[in-house]
Symmetry: C2
Subunit: 229 residues, 2 copies
Amino acid sequence: MDAPAKNTKVYEEVVERIKKMIEEGELKIGDKLPTERAMAEELNVSRASIREAIRSLEVIGLIESIQGAGNYIKNDFSEILLEPLSMMFMLQQGSAIDIYELREVLELSTIMLSAERISKEELKKLKELIEKFKESDIESNNVIIDKEFHYTIVKSANNPLITNLLNVLSQVIDKFITDSRKNILESSENKERLLKLHERVYIALENRNSLEAYTALKEHFELIKEYIK
Amino acid sequence: MDAPAKNTKVYEEVVERIKKMIEEGELKIGDKLPTERAMAEELNVSRASIREAIRSLEVIGLIESIQGAGNYIKNDFSEILLEPLSMMFMLQQGSAIDIYELREVLELSTIMLSAERISKEELKKLKELIEKFKESDIESNNVIIDKEFHYTIVKSANNPLITNLLNVLSQVIDKFITDSRKNILESSENKERLLKLHERVYIALENRNSLEAYTALKEHFELIKEYIK
């Protein structure tokens, strides 16, 4: 009874077929896939194999399966790396330090790109976030403002792959590691230190000074690291 | 006929169950999963749903399904991010520049960690690779030596997540973008320039000089970029 099913690897052919359609531009973001029946007939395989393939692409975050409507290539890939990265993290006895370090390393080099590419609107937004941060006394609000500050900087580097990857890393960190931001922001002295560092980062970006932006952000991370050890 | 099957989202419960077993340490790297029948009975779902779940984790690269032997948590996660990243790249009209930039950015900050952490054995290996590179006149050999040189540096930063991610990025680049290394190494003048840069990188790492290692590697990337534009 537990012998492998006859169609063990058939679903892979289906995955390959879908990938080929993507590669050749037949399927684009938001497009609807052919019906499961049509694909089964075209590839001469069972509907179960088609479904296995669709499911696996759904888990990856590539396809969205809408009840009664069909299967679509997603519009939003913010989740596409989340599952695999989470799994990897959980299985590699993934130390919290490793994943923080990956984010740090990536964010530090990204800010050097941001210094070259940030727009006036984005600079304005950073300034507003600093003001909001100053005025807000509610811890949970500060956490949100802090996140938005970092997100705006990352986005200003204008590389969607990097933005996506850093988002996913933040999600993995939020999911598995106690939120250190909250611990840090509990102390008003730290809030002051963070504020100063945000201001330094802002000025460096405004002056398009990559190295200074890097250095200020690095100090920022050192402060955070005091709280995750 | 094309109405969604009754068990549309049942497989997700199964994926969740497997993830939970991983999270709680019940399943570790290399472990065998319970048989499909046992899981179907435990979760009170069809074997088809179990199979859909297993398939999707296989596509992610988390599970290896061995004919007749059963399903195992993989030992090697080098592929775990490859599929999702490839898909993302293909769909986001992913410009080659974006993906090169992500690799560059990541490798540049990683080398600063390497400068702190590289071992004597790894330094020795780099030196050997430089000698090999000097002596070799065969282009395809030089490409391999060059790759190994970079890989050794990345690995010496001692963060498995970073190593993994950079491997995957290299694979995506090799898969979708013409191999620029080869174009570069076709000219003996470039081989000479690359060699000089490798030597500079090596000396910087030997002296544990992060900033100089960063700067030399950055020049190295500038050279490569002349060939991908």
